[in-house]
Amino acid sequence: MLEIRNLHARIADEGTEIIRGLNLTVKKGEVSAIMGPNGSGKSTLSYILAGREDYEVTEGDILFNGESILEMDPAERAASGIFLAFQYPMEIPGVATMEFLKVALNAQRKARGEEPLKVPEFLKRVKESAGTLQMDMNMLKRPLNVGFSGGEKKRAEILQMKLLEPKLCVMDETDSGLDIDALKIVSDGVNALRSPDRAIVVITHYQRLLEHIVPDSVHVLYKGQIIKSGDKSLALDLEANGYAGVIGEAA
């Protein structure tokens, strides 16, 4: 489903290369974890997948369902089924959360040639999803993410993911800022989305999240490259021995 080939990318403004020849394949139905120390390029990778302009791809390619997405803008990528759950979701004053959800959902439906959702059906879906995430509907009347706590923002991200039903979910440090209860609710939300048709890439610093969202594969990102891949036992190994050993092996 996702194939990243020899990807090189740099910060567009000042030219610092962050991703340096990254290769990664994630299959349909697979839950893939990307781990790595601070500054290894994890968040950058997630932004590049979503199409943020601040990064420039200088070499290599990203194929999604066999087609390059490099020429697509963030909205086109989203409509094709890529979803990035942000590490730090933006607060956007003046845009009501409900209105935003409706516009986003219908924009994607339109891009796929589907009819816009009728309001009652839309409300029903929002209520269902909000319920399973233990979110208060009153919160959704407020401006998008404004005044939400860290946990509420992460839940709001998962709510969007549930509504938009993407093919590829990229979760950037979803566990950061969550207490143990919120972590459970958010993880349950993600696990409910596991399906043979959907791939999930979980980017995380710690093994903690992977106890709740158990991955099929684990990849270690270091200095812009995947230096080691394995199954879930690799995450446990990293937890016990730190990144130093793996980095040493690769060097």
Binding site: E53, P74, A75, I92, P93, V95
Partner: protein, 421 residues
Amino acid sequence: MNIQTPIQNTPAEQAILDAFSERLSLLPGDGEVMLKRDAAIEAVKAGLPTRRIEAWHYTDLRRLLAKVPAYDDAAAAEAVPVLIEGSAVLPVLNGVAGKATALDGVTVQTVAEKLRDGSYAPALERQGDDDAIGALNAALVADGWFLDIADGTVLEKPIELQNVQAGGQVHTRFAARIGDGVTATIVERQAGSGGAFVSSVDNVVIGDGANVTWLIVQEEPDTATYLGQFNAWIGKDARFSLFVMNAGGKLVRQEVRVATKGEGSDFQLRGVNLLSGETHTDVTMVLDHAVPNTGSRELVRNVVTGRAHGVFQGRINVHQVAQKTDAKMACNTLLLSDDGEFSTKPELEIFADDVACGHGATVTEIDHGHLFYLMARGIDEKTARGLLVKAFVAEVIEGLEDEQLIEALEAKLDAWFATHG
């Protein structure tokens, strides 16, 4: 010795002077009214204000006012659809007051009548040397509405004043005495077609304990010149909220001159300026906190596209007696093009020593992080930008706290973005 040589009038000034001579016999009023008109036209003869006059520094009227059309009596203006369904309409069509809707508790009279019976003469006084709009309007005002809202009246529906033109020259006044304890919403529409030259002056006296919202919705075509002046005096414990939306006009200046006259009064100014093309729009406020224990809030948001130039000057005078004044002013601008321009000049002049006064001004572009977030959810760039720009100004509108008004004004926003976004 000081010898003033008469200046060479510009073609626009000459056109105003010619119009004055030609129309003089047709303008309502004689005696005192005529003396006031004669005195007022001297301001045009002496030359319209230039950038050397401080209050006009960013709007060099003499240079910007390139052309003034002659009167066009054949132009047929039609009333515009009301902003709020069920409003009582008081129209001025092409400079002439039309048929008024009767309303309980409200006595109306045309300004032409009040000019003819001489009772309006005192209101034609010019407020200082830089009062070009007041002078121009005093010289040429032909009609408008005077309304007297009886003490204690609660209006369920808004009164809508309309000043609609179809070209030529129009000089209008709206005056209101709003009684003690009145609750009212007044909508003022400035609209039309053709490249009209419009001046419109409001004089509003707000009684003690009244709660009044006044909205000026200016949507002149981008060929028109609109010079507006809003004067208000606020009584004891009264709450007065003024909303100004500029969404049109080639050359626009809206002056706001407000004074708190009674203790415990509160004033709010909310402004939305939507600027496009090669237009110039100026909102200039002078607020006098003249008595103790009064408050004010000013929030102006501007969206600038194309080669438009906008101006906001906000001057707050806190008089020596006006202790415990609480005033806060903010002006925020979203610049959407490289060629757009916005000038902001906040001024606080404080003579009292126990006050809380502040101001802030920002100029920003669309936040790229916000744009990326919306697009990452599948919202195309144009729609995402539209959402963000609308959100920026919608905050000002939402502060009106009246669902019907908010909805109607947001519809105006949508309409503007649909054609200019």
